[in-house]
């Protein structure tokens, strides 16, 4: 859980990285911003579904399936969350 006093976007990259590592079972492996979820990190179609559920759980909100389908790199996920995160979660 992030510190509610800090700017919401400050730790988004770290939290997204942690969620991705958790979903893909990467333990403490570093996850580069440019890493591609499928090709570089080995995500399959079930992992992609799990990733969206895990992100919704972490950031408390709803991610549309259409937009989630466009996630290719770690950076794109961070950008998506950073853009939509607010005090009430994802919007």
């Amino acid at each position: 859980m992030s510190d509610p006093a800090s700017p919401p976007s400050a730790d988004v990259a770290a939290r997204v990285g942690a969620v991705i590592r958790d979903v893909l079972g990467l333990e403490s492996c570093p996850v580069a911003a440019s890493s591609r979820l499928r090709e570089d990190l080995g995500a399959d179609s079930v992992d992609a579904v799990m990733l969206v559920m895990a992100l919704e759980r972490e950031f408390k909100g709803k991610i549309s399936d259409e937009e989630a389908a466009r996630f290719c790199t770690v950076e794109e996920v961070v950008d998506y969350v950073s853009l939509r995160i607010g005090e009430q979660g994802l919007s």
Binding site: V23, G25, D47, M53, A54
Partner: protein, 453 residues
């Protein structure tokens, strides 16, 4: 060539009486029956004839190695089965090491994975997930009807709708299919512990767990496997009491007149129905005798016989002569190579419904007379549906190991003069039978022997 023998080398259990096998066993020996009022929230949806059930204690799923991410894609029955399986494997001293963190896959040391199977029983499969998915599906277009703020005049309909809408997950669970299917319990355990032998599911309602142990016996004895994780798992605690209502409206549940704590009273003349349990699971590590001996495993008891029959009479009422239940028990005794007079203890199905207990007690009297001790685990745990048979086989194995029988609680005026254990009792036990009957008309019986040479 002599017949291959089957040892119970590990037991894991979750029931309304505890979250581990020793907890459940101790509570049952102490006569601590689980019973509580149904949740107040359920009354928003229906009036009920029965107002008591047997809720589960808080289960620490994280301590059992189930991550929050895994929990999002597992039905409650599967989660309970994992807890019981983990305990059973640890009890059997089968060490598991993680081989795939992403998929949560472990591997058991010293086990030939292709000769190790899984056979779990289930009554309703992922029934609570089905209910939640249906709610999510039907209510999606109704979301805008959620009321804004508190109305001046309380309105039960909008109150109920708001409660329902607030309970909905953010998305329709994309894992719903794999959570609802009845084989999810067996498949999950097979994946989790890398067991690549036969992986089957027994869907025999309330006899499912008993049948699963019977199938494990046949699989090991027949040479297909050296080890089988077997048992049963059930979870029916949906937040709105839908499953409870289904049993309640069929007039099968214990109705309470005055003292709720005595509502669950199998084999008593004052019985009114069964006490539904929120859920439960029991998993047994069944292992070929020499296989168990070679690795120095402790043997709780031996599984020696199995019999099965079908009433072909009614989906919901036991055939009144009990002929097929009697035949199933007779087949299990013949399979074990013993006579009815050899049996020291009968762990009865004992639901507490009027017809069941009448028929079953007559069957016990007809087969065994009044010599063996008789008790009903459901008098303590409530009725765990597809898990109940496995819980009762596990309890019977513990009875043979510890030479103790738990009581059949609340039994004051027995329906028939059998040798009922009304309180927990020390007893010299060599042979025991655990039997189950089920909606549909299934009958199944397992015979066990005290571990010996």
């Amino acid at each position: 060539m002599s017949r291959r023998r089957v040892a119970v080398t590990g037991i894991g259990m979750v029931s309304p009486t505890g979250t581990t096998a020793p907890e459940c066993w101790s509570a049952c020996l102490a006569g601590q029956a689980a019973v509580a009022p149904i949740p107040d929230q359920w009354r928003r949806w229906s009036g009920f004839q029965s107002t008591v059930w047997a809720p589960l204690p808080t289960v620490d799923f994280a301590a059992a190695g189930i991550t929050p991410l895994e929990a999002m894609r597992l039905d409650g029955a599967v989660m309970l089965a994992i807890v019981a399986a983990r305990e059973a494997l640890a009890d059997a001293k089968l060490e598991a090491s993680l081989v795939d963190a992403k998929r949560g896959i472990w591997r058991l040391a010293g086990i030939d994975d292709e000769r190790a199977g899984v056979c779990m029983g289930s009554g309703g499969g992922g029934i609570t997930t089905l209910i939640e998915s249906q709610n999510s599906h039907l209510l999606t277009p109704i979301q805008p009807l959620a009321s804004r703020g508190t109305p001046e005049t309380p309105d039960p309909a909008s109150d109920a709708l708001d409660t329902l809408l607030a309970s909905l997950p953010k998305r329709f669970n994309p894992f719903a299919v794999s959570m609802i299917m009845p084989n999810a319990v067996s498949a999950t355990l097979g994946i989790r512990y890398s067991l690549r032998g036969p992986n089957t599911t027994c869907a025999l309602a309330c006899a499912a767990g008993t049948a699963a142990v019977g199938q494990a016996l046949r699989s090991i004895r027949g040479g297909d496997t050296d080890m089988v994780l077997c048992g049963g798992a059930e979870f029916v605690g949906d937040p709105f009491g839908s499953v409870f209502r289904a049993f309640d409206t069929a007039k099968t549940l214990a109705s309470v007149v005055d003292r709720p704590e005595t509502a669950n009273r199998p084999f008593d003349r004052g019985r009114t129905g069964f006490l539904l349990a929120e859920g439960g699971a029991a998993v047994l590590v069944c292992e070929e005798w020499e296989h168990a001996h070679r690795r120095g495993a402790r043997i709780h008891a031996e599984i020696v016989g199995y019999g099965e029959s079908f009433d072909a009479y009614s989906m919901m009422i036991m055939e009144p002569t009990g002929r097929q239940l009697s035949r199933a028990i007779g087949l299990s005794l013949a399979d074990a190579g013993i006579a009815a007079d050899d049996v020291d203890y009968v762990n009865a199905h004992g639901t507490g419904t009027i017809v069941n207990d009448d028929v079953e007690s007559a069957v016990i009297e007809g087969l065994f007379g009044s010599r063996p001790l008789v008790s009903a685990t459901k008098s303590l745990t409530g009725h765990c549906i597809g898990a109940s048979g496995a819980i009762e086989v596990a309890m019977t194995a513990l009875s043979l190991r510890d030479q103790k029988v738990h009581g059949c609680v609340n039994l004051e005026d027995p329906v028939r003069p059998l040798n009922f254990a009304r309180k927990s009792t020390d007893a010299g036990l060599t042979w025991a039978v655990s039997q189950s009957s089920a909606f549909g008309g299934h009958n199944a019986a397992v015979v066990m022997r005290r571990a010996g040479p």
